[in-house]
């Protein structure tokens, strides 16, 4: 039982970190946001495992859900604006 839990914890952590890594390295705004939402949902799952169901609910609804919705709207605007010329380097559309 304990060994199983240990392996489960390790897998969960590795998935979480992997998801975070692909989130920060993805250039396309919309894709990055969707990965971020997935990350938030997985984080909620991890917190449920750590006996923090209140936080799991809040993270899923606010951290992933509403932050994600806000960012998706922004990403849609961002890709709408640069439909025409440069789809290129990420550093170009600086704030």
């Amino acid at each position: 039982m304990n060994a199983l839990l240990t392996v489960f914890d390790l897998l969960l952590t590795l998935t979480l970190l992997g998801l975070a890594l692909v989130t920060v390295t993805s250039r396309e705004p919309r894709r990055a946001v969707i990965l971020f939402i997935a990350f938030g949902l997985l984080l909620a799952l991890v917190w449920a495992r750590l006996r923090a169901p209140d936080l799991a609910l809040a993270e899923a609804a606010i951290g992933a859900g509403l932050s994600g919705a806000l960012m998706l709207a922004a990403a849609r605007r961002a890709s709408g604006r640069r439909t025409s010329p440069a789809e290129g380097s990420d550093a170009e559309d600086a704030p």
Binding site: N2, L5, T6, D9, L10, T13, L16, L17, A20, L21, T23, V24, P29, A32, V33, F36, F39, G40, L43, V46, W47, L50, R51, A52, D54, L55, A58, E59, I62, G63, L66, S67, L70, M71, A73, A74, A75, R77, A78, R81, D90, A91, E92, D93, A94, P95
Partner: protein, 97 residues
């Protein structure tokens, strides 16, 4: 504290630290607002993850509610800041057009 709990605290707390570093790296090297915001939210998630990890006291022991309350506060602060920053970004787009 049993070894099982210590292992979980170190594993999850350690991954929280990695999340903070990953977010910090992304915040420093990426210029686009959306990527900076994702980065800072990831950093926040890392800090929250550390707090959740130290609140954990075993699979059948009630966890420490104080860090949980801090994290809940932090989540709401994070979404507020994200919303405000995105509104700033939207305004910049409008002024540019």
């Amino acid at each position: 504290m049993t070894d099982q709990v210590l292992y979980a605290q170190l594993l999850y707390g350690g991954s929280g630290i990695i999340l903070v570093l990953l977010g910090l790296w992304s915040f420093l090297v990426h210029a686009a607002l959306l990527r900076k915001l994702i980065a800072i939210n990831l950093m926040g998630a890392g800090v929250f993850h550390i707090l959740v990890a130290i609140a954990y006291r075993g699979i059948d022991t009630p966890p420490d509610p104080v860090p949980h309350a801090l994290v809940l506060t932090g989540i709401v602060v994070a979404v507020s800041a994200t919303a405000l920053a995105l509104a700033f970004g939207k305004r910049l787009d409008q002024v540019d057009d």
